[in-house]
Symmetry: C2
Subunit: 185 residues, 2 copies
DNA sequence: TGTTATTCGGATAACTGAGTCTTATTATCC
DNA sequence: GGATAATAAGACTCAGTTATCCGAATAACA
């Protein structure tokens, strides 16, 4: 459904929401905790920082943290920056002319499902994800100790040359993780 | 949401459901009516024929037709053969261990939306799509005249070198349109 | 001031979906 | 039987997603 980028982002930001808002969290620690590819996660987090969802701090003692309080960031806010949510609005049969007026045969069905979905994403904040995760049996978390930042790792990290898990796709991404193109037409 | 393949398939099969079940319909006529790339539509229809959703007839006076009566073919039946519907069942946050027991923070939300969606797809038949299309204002259709099969074309067909409309994605396709691999593990 | 630790940015590669084109196969009609 | 018209099958192109890696910029610390 979502792209890998969005999936990684949601999982990472759920963990960030469980941490002290002032602390800078390392990409590496997040990646290890979640068991996801470090470099790719880094790109995702960089994108979210560029978009204003995260704050980043370079150099020693740097890292990432939420730009706003977790209850003010919704799941939709995150996914919107990484996937092309406009495709949720477009015709499910791919017709160019399909609206409430000129509906395709599946228009109403899809509108109902999609509206419920989008509304749910907009009504769910990172705080709720974090609270749910908190109660989850066996859930590890990032432990902040003073000068160094050790990690209680969750599962064995499968290392060595991942070939890309290709194309388990999503409702679509557009230009995604590149530096340029901050505007959406 | 759906792949291009599924979108084209649904639109094409909706038209097939409006035709005489005995008639063989040409890929070219369907493509012209729908304004979709002929060769790609051909691949999609061939796949559906291989999977048993359609029947095909080679040679002169050949073409495609529904393998069963339209009320016995659901939207889900079509999409299932072209997209990897198992991905709808998998975790929306990409966690490997996520079930009703070990739920991720978005598990219940996604399960509700997805179940309603899948159920709708399974409860909607091609007959319903065809009937809806029938009532639609300005909807063209394939006109079967005796020996030749002229077509009342719907809209201007944008011809000339379509570069692939890239990656407006879907919940995922797997091996999709290749000849082999009829089984799904 | 120099070292170290971190994000930032670009280059590159594998894999797949979308689409085109060409050839082979097959059925019908003259 | 031969010409014709259609599906069947494969090779190929193009672009986007998912990664990996490296060097540059930058901030903290000794």
């Amino acid at each position: 459904m979502f792209s890998q980028a969005s999936e990684y982002a949601l999982r990472a930001l759920t963990e960030l929401a469980r941490c002290d808002r002032q602390e800078w969290i390392l990409t590496g620690d997040l990646a290890e905790l979640l068991g996801v590819p470090v470099h790719y996660l880094a790109k995702v987090l960089q994108t979210l920082a560029r978009k204003g969802v995260l704050e980043s701090q370079r150099g020693r003692q740097g890292g990432f943290r939420l730009a706003e309080s977790p209850e003010n960031i919704t799941v939709y806010d995150v996914v919107r920056e990484l996937d092309d949510v406009r495709q949720l609005e477009s015709c499910i049969m791919g017709e160019s002319e399909c609206s409430d007026d000129t509906a395709c045969p599946l228009h109403n069905l899809w509108r109902d499902v999609r509206d419920e979905f989008v509304e749910s994403l907009q009504n769910t904040s990172l705080r709720e994800l974090a609270e749910f995760q908190e109660k989850r049996p066996g859930s590890s978390r990032l432990t902040i100790v003073k000068p160094k930042l050790p990690v209680v790792k969750a599962s064995k990290v499968p290392n060595g040359r991942n070939s890309p898990r290709q194309n388990n796709r999503t409702f679509g991404s557009h230009y995604l993780l590149n530096t340029r193109s901050n505007f959406v037409p």
